[in-house]
C-alpha cells in the first residue's frame, strides 16, 4: 500500500517533527510513503476568510498533484475536512472538476481515521509513559465525524495514562483567522479549554490538528502552564520510553 | 389601511422563488388525505389506542407526573369529587368555578362542595351581560375544575376545545386547576391528536374551532437566573384526576369518526 502525504502548511513550516512522526509510524506498519514536493497549502485560510477565488487555485493544485495517489493522508482534521468536504463543494458547478474532486476526496483521509478505519490498526506498537488528555478538534469531530478513532489509538499506547477532558467537544477558540480577527474573544474561549486541561492533571494534551495545538500551546506557555501540547502522531511514533522528558520535541508544537 | 395587498405580497414571494405563476397544489401527503382516508386513519388510531388502553393510562400517569401535574387515580366518580372537596378544604376555598363538560354528570362536585358552604359557579354565559361578571368570578376563584376533550400520554397533556360551556379561562385564571380525564379520552401521541383534530376539521367542512389548548402541567418560568419557578400567570398547581371508565358506552368525543 502506498500513501501520499499531504503534510499541511503549518506542519511544514512550524512543526515538521509531526510530519516526521507520521512518516515513521506509517513506515513502521509497512506502508510506502511518498511526499509530493510541490504541495504548499490546502487553501482553507482563504476560503474561510471569504476569498474563494484565492482558495480555488490551491484546491486545483491538490487535485493535480495527488490525483494519481492511492491514498492521501493528512495529519490534520481541519485540512482533511477542507479537502474532503469543502473542496468538492467549491467545484460543484464545474463539471468534470467536481467529479474529480469527489473521487480524490474519497481517497483522502485524516491520519487517525486512516489508521483505524482503513488500515484497521489500533495498536501501533507505541510506548509513551505519561498522563495525557485529548482535545477532539472541531472539524475532525463534526465535519469528519471522528468521534472515537484518536482515543482508540491513544488507549492502545503502552504505558500511557489517559484522562478524559471535561466538555471535550467545546472549541478551543482557534478558528483559523478568527484567532487574529478577534484575539480577546479567541483567548477567552481558549481560557476555558486551558482550565479543563489543567483540571485533568495531565502532562500532555494531545490533538490531531496543529492549528489547535499551536493555539493551546501558545496559551499554556503564556500562562506558565507546564503541560505539553503534542500531535497524536508524535505520541504514536514513540516506541521506547525517552530518557528524562516524556517527549522529544525539538521545536514547535511540542515546545508548548 | 396600511400594508400591502395579498396579491402584491405573494408576487414578491413568487419572484423570490423564481416563479411567475402561482404554484399548483403541491404533492404533500398530509394535505392530500381526503375525508375517507383521514377517517380510515383515525379508525386505525382508535383501534390501536383501544388495544393499549391500560398501558396508555399508566404512561399518561407517569409522564403527566413528570410534567408537574399532581395525578390522582380515582377509584370512582365519587372519589374524584371527594378529591376536589379535599383540595377545596386545603386551599380554604370559598369559590370554585367549573366548565360545563359532560363529565360533571358523573362527578357530582356541585352538591358536595355546596354542602360545605363552598360556592360553585358553572361558567356558562346565558346572557352576554354575564361575561364580565363571570370573568370576575374566575379571577376570584381559588380553584377551576374542567373536564378535557382529549389527553395525550406521550406528553402528559390535557386538551381543551373551548366552546359553549367551556371557557378558556377556567383552566387559566384560578391558581389551582383540576382536570378530570376519562379513560376513553386518552390518546397515545401528538400525531394521534392532530389526526383526530384534522378529521374533525374536514368533517366540520373547514371549521377548525376557534381555539384548542394543550396544557401540560402548571405554568412555570425560568426567566430569572434559569431557576425554575412553578406558577406564573397560569395555575400554580395543576391536578389531573384520572377517572375509571364509565359503565355505559363512552360518550362520543369531538372528532370521533361519524359513519
Amino acid at each position: 500500500m502506498k500513501v501520499s502525504l499531504f503534510v499541511t502548511c503549518l506542519v511544514d513550516q512550524l512543526f515538521p517533527e509531526v510530519g516526521e512522526s507520521v512518516v515513521k509510524l506509517l513506515r513502521r506498519v509497512g506502508i510506502e510513503v511518498e511526499f509530493p514536493r510541490e504541495q504548499t497549502c490546502c487553501g482553507q485560510p482563504a476560503l474561510n476568510s471569504g476569498f474563494m477565488a484565492h482558495a480555488k487555485p490551491l484546491a486545483r493544485r491538490w487535485l493535480d498533484l495527488f490525483e494519481e495517489s492511492q491514498y492521501v493522508v493528512v495529519p490534520s482534521g481541519s485540512c482533511a475536512a477542507m479537502l474532503k468536504v469543502s473542496v468538492p463543494e467549491m467545484f460543484r458547478q464545474e463539471a468534470g472538476l467536481y467529479e474529480r474532486a469527489q473521487a480524490l476526496a474519497g481517497r483522502t483521509y485524516e491520519l487517525s481515521q486512516f489508521l483505524v478505519n482503513v488500515l484497521r490498526v489500533q495498536d501501533l506498537g507505541a510506548r509513551f509513559p505519561g498522563k495525557v488528555t485529548y482535545h477532539p478538534s472541531c472539524h475532525l469531530l463534526r465535519e469528519l465525524g471522528a468521534a472515537t478513532e484518536a482515543q482508540t489509538l491513544i488507549r492502545g499506547v503502552r504505558g500511557i495514562q489517559f484522562v478524559p477532558l471535561d466538555n471535550p467537544d467545546r472549541c478551543c477558540g482557534f478558528g483559523g483567522t478568527f484567532s487574529v480577527k478577534y484575539p480577546s474573544l479567541s483567548g477567552a474561549i481558549l481560557e476555558e479549554k486551558l482550565r479543563a486541561i489543567e483540571a485533568t492533571g495531565a502532562d500532555v494534551v494531545v490533538a490531531c490538528d496543529s492549528g489547535c495545538l499551536m493555539h493551546i500551546a501558545g496559551g499554556m506557555r503564556r500562562r506558565g502552564m507546564k503541560v505539553e501540547a503534542m500531535h497524536l502522531a508524535q505520541i504514536l511514533a514513540q516506541t521506547a520510553p525517552a530518557e528524562g522528558a516524556p517527549a522529544e520535541p525539538k521545536d514547535g508544537a511540542g515546545a508548548g | 389601511m396600511a400594508g400591502t395587498t395579498r396579491e402584491e405580497f405573494l408576487k414578491t414571494v413568487r419572484q423570490s422563488l423564481g416563479r411567475k405563476e402561482g404554484a399548483p397544489e403541491p404533492e404533500y401527503l398530509a394535505l392530500r388525505l381526503r375525508r375517507e382516508d383521514q377517517r380510515q386513519k383515525v379508525v386505525t388510531i382508535e383501534a390501536r389506542v383501544e388495544a393499549r388502553r391500560r398501558d396508555l393510562l399508566t404512561r399518561l400517569e407517569r409522564v403527566a407526573g413528570q410534567s408537574g401535574w399532581r395525578v390522582y387515580r380515582a377509584a370512582s366518580p365519587e372519589a374524584a369529587a371527594g378529591y376536589v372537596l379535599k383540595l377545596a378544604r386545603e386551599k380554604a376555598a370559598d369559590l370554585v368555578v367549573r366548565s360545563e363538560h359532560d363529565v360533571f354528570r358523573r362527578v357530582p362536585i356541585d352538591g358536595l362542595l355546596r354542602q360545605e358552604g363552598i360556592a360553585v359557579t358553572p361558567i356558562l354565559a346565558a346572557r352576554a351581560g354575564d361575561r364580565e361578571h363571570l370573568r370576575q368570578e374566575m379571577d376570584k376563584a381559588q380553584i377551576g375544575v374542567t373536564g378535557v376533550d382529549y389527553a395525550v400520554a406521550e406528553t402528559g397533556t390535557c386538551v381543551l376545545l373551548p366552546r359553549r360551556g367551556v371557557s378558556r379561562a377556567v383552566s387559566l385564571l384560578p391558581p389551582v386547576h383540576v382536570a378530570l380525564v376519562e379513560p376513553h379520552q386518552v390518546y397515545e401521541t401528538l400525531d394521534d391528536l392532530f389526526a383526530v383534530r384534522r378529521l374533525a376539521f374536514i368533517q366540520g367542512r373547514g371549521d377548525a374551532g376557534s381555539y384548542l389548548s394543550l396544557t401540560s402541567g402548571p405554568s412555570r418560568t425560568a426567566d430569572i437566573e434559569q431557576t425554575l419557578v412553578i406558577g406564573v400567570h397560569g395555575p400554580v398547581e395543576a391536578h389531573l384526576v384520572l377517572l375509571p371508565p364509565a359503565p355505559e358506552a363512552a360518550s362520543p368525543r369531538p372528532g370521533t369518526p361519524s359513519p
Binding site: R27, P57, G218 | T5, P24, T157, V166, L193, R198
Partner: protein
Amino acid sequence: MAPVQVRTQEFPRASSRALANGRVQQALTNVMGHFDHAREAAIQELTPEVWERYRERGREIKRHAMEYLDFYLELLSERVEANGGKVHFARTAQEATQIVLEIAKALGVKVAVKGKSMLSEEMGLNHALEEQGIAPVETDLGEYIIQLAQEPPFHILAPAMHKTKEEVGELFAAKLGLGGLQQIPDMAAAARKTLRERFLQADMGITGVNFAVAETGTVVIVTNEGNGRMCTSLPRVHVALMGMEKVVPALEDLSVMLRLLPRAATGQRITSYVTLVSGPRQPGDEDGPEEFHLVIVDAGRTRLLADPELREALYCIRCGACLNTCPVYRKVGGHAYGWVYPGPIGSVITPVMVGLPRARDLPFASSLCGACREVCPLKINIPLMLVSLRRRLMEGAPGERGVSWGQRLLVRLWSRVVASEGSLRRARRLAAVFQRPFLRRRVVRWIPFPPFSRWTRNRDMPGLARRSFHELWDRDLKTTGRSKRP
C-alpha cells in the same frame, strides 16, 4: 424604550466590552450550562436515533413549506379569513407597525398586553405604541424585566438571563414600588399579581406566532408561563404577528415541530402551554377576542428566500440552541451582536436584514466550530452560510463588500507565497530573517506587526522550525529505507 437600533457595526468593541464586564461574564457562566444540559438530557431520553428522525422530518417539512411558500401563505390567509379573522400583509417592519397602530386606534386601545415576539422587536413596536399613547405591557417574565430595565433582549428565549435576582429585585422596587423582594418565587408571584391586573384591563393582546398551519388557518403559540393564553383569551382583540416563514402545511406537521422546539429550547417534552388559535371567538364561545388579526411580515425574509445559499436560515424555529452552544455567544452574550437576533443564526439573519456592510463583522464572529449545526433541530448549516456571507463581503458586488484593505492585501500576499513550493521556500528565508529579532528560545512572545501582533497579545507564537518538512524530507526521510525502520 428607544426604537430598535442597529448597532451591529459595533460588534468588535461591544464584544470586547462584554468580555471585560464582570457581571455579564458571571451571568453567562452561571446560566449557560443549564440550557445545554437540559437539551442533551431530553435528546437522550428520546434516544438520539429518534431525535435524528424528527430532525429529518422537521427539515423536510420546512424545506417543502419554503419551496411552496406562496401557495401556503395564500391558503393560510384564506382559511384564517374563513374562520372570521382578518389577515394583513406587510412588506416591511414599518408597514407591520402601521397596521398594528391602525387596528389599535380604530378600537381606541389604551393598554396592549404582549406575549414574547422577536418580530415585534424587529418592528420596534413598543416604542411606536408608546408614541401613540398606547401602553404596551410585556407579559413574559423575562421580557417584562427588560422592559422595566429599558434594555433589548439578551437571548431570544431568556431575554433577561443576564440579570441577577438582586438586579431584578432592585428593578421591581424602583419601577413597581415592590421593595424587599429577595427570592425568585416571590418575584414571579409579584409579576403574576401586577400583570394579572393588566391582563384584565387590556383591550388588545399582541403575540408572536411559533407556527402557522396553512390548511386549517391556525396559529400556534408556545409558552410556559401561560401569558400567551392570557393575551389570546382576555382582551377583546388579538393581533398575531408572524414572520412569513412560520407557515407549515398541515395540522399533523405540528406533532413533529412540537417535539423539536421544546426539546431544543429548554429540554422539555412539551411546554406547559401550546395554544392553537383559528380566529376570533365564535358564536356560543364563552370567551375569546371579538377580533383576530394576523399580520404576515416579510421584512427582509424574501431576500433569504431568494438566496439558494441562505434560504435554510428560514427553517429556524427560534429555539436558541445555537446560541446556547456557541463558544462566541457563551462569551459575549446577546447585546454585543447589536440587533434583535444574536448568536450564530443571528450572524446569518442580521446581515441580510440590516444590510451586509453594516453587519460585516458578524459573519466573522465565529470559529466555524460547527457546534451550532450539530445542535440545530432543523440541521441548518450555519457555518456554511457564514462562509458564504464572508465571501460576499470579500468578493461580492460593490454594494455588499465590506471594506477591508488589510485583509485583501494579506490574502494577495499569502496567495503569492503559497502559489508554488519555490515561492514558499523564498518567503520562508525572508521570514526567518524577519523573525530573528523577536525570537526568544524559539518562541515569539511579542511582535508589533499585524496580524501576528494580534496573536501575541495573549498567546505565544512558535517560531519557524529550523528546517521545514520539505527540507527534512529531502535530507533524511526520502532516502530512509522504505518499510525497513524498526
